[in-house]
């Protein structure tokens, strides 16, 4: 557990929780990122403004952090483009079919004590753990 960073994890987690509560309390919306993003792809929908504003806020954070000297390193991703594309397709399709992602189900849904979200979170945690176990320890990736 050499990589364990409990303090920054707790502070960051509390901020994520605060964001979901503020969005609900102020605008009545669930801070599920896949749902917010998917609404932007919906041609003809007229509630894009708040979605664009939220995602703009997300993207601005590393930019502002960079200005004050805490820029983030580009994420380390697999070398294979095929894996990146497959993963993106699965994440996008699966989040829509399952009605949410790590934020919508894992934080907002469980926070509202939704049985559906608790089930979804258990399922995606299990398949993600199996995927990592197979790709890292059985296929040697």
């Amino acid at each position: 557990m050499a990589n364990f960073t409990p303090l920054s994890a707790a502070i960051g987690g509390a901020l994520i929780g605060l964001s979901t509560v503020l969005l609900m309390l102020l605008t009545g919306r669930i801070a599920g990122i896949s749902g917010i993003f998917a609404g932007l792809l919906n041609v003809g929908s007229d509630d894009k403004g708040w979605r664009i504003a939220f995602i703009a806020g997300l993207i601005l954070v590393p930019v502002i952090a960079g200005w004050i000297g805490y820029g983030m390193a580009p994420p380390k991703l697999p070398a294979s483009w095929a894996i990146i594309v497959a993963a993106g397709l699965l994440v996008g399709f699966g989040a829509r079919l399952g009605g949410g992602c790590t934020s919508g189900h894992g934080i907002c849904g469980i926070g509202r004590l939704s049985v559906r979200s608790i089930a979804a979170t258990i399922v995606f945690m299990v398949t993600a753990v199996i995927t990592v176990a197979v790709s890292r320890h059985m296929l040697g990736g």
């Binding site: 502070i11 509560v21 919906n42 708040w50 504003a53 580009p74 993963a87 996008g92 849904g109």
Partner: protein
């Protein structure tokens, strides 16, 4: 002309929430796929940080949502937009299962992927385009099926 409160509701409040959410992902380290995969890799050098992030987020979110529920309506909007479904069904389980496979393959989920666009990383851009493609395919697939009566209007048909 838009009123001041409508501008705050539609632009300023969501922007502020996006900034706070993004700061949480950055501070917690969950913006980095290596950190996420460290949690998912229970057979390797396991890193429990993601569990602490979720626990801390829920410790704030659960009482916060209870507080919100006590209000008849949100501060800046006319109504809450809450999911209408309550039963566990096949699409939920199948969708979550597929989502987890994709998440485990690279360690990116939608929030960190969108936030990481700020780094202009080509891999992240390709991931986000593929993610949008997956959502688009889902929409096409839904539209091609015979209309299934839903127990709730479209805005309520999604959990998050």
């Amino acid at each position: 002309m838009k009123t001041v409160s409508e501008t705050i509701s539609r632009i300023i409040a969501p922007l502020l929430c996006g900034l706070i959410f993004g700061t949480g992902l950055l501070v917690s380290g969950m913006i980095q796929p290596t950190k996420v995969l460290g949690f998912l890799d229970i057979l390797g050098a396991w890193d429990p940080s993601l569990a602490v992030v979720m626990a801390a987020a829920l410790a704030v979110a659960a009482p916060g949502f209870m507080l919100a529920r006590q209000r008849a309506r949100p501060v800046l909007a006319g109504q809450y937009f809450l999911p209408g479904k309550s039963e566990i069904d096949a699409p939920l389980v199948l969708g979550a299962g597929l989502f987890g496979i994709g998440w485990g393959l690279v360690g990116l989920c939608p929030g960190p992927a969108l936030e990481s666009l700020a780094t202009l990383s080509p891999g992240v851009m390709v991931f986000v385009v593929a993610m949008a493609g997956g959502m688009f395919l889902h929409g096409k697939w839904q539209a091609s099926r015979p209309a299934v009566p839903r127990d709730a209007p479209i805005v309520h048909a999604t959990d998050g």
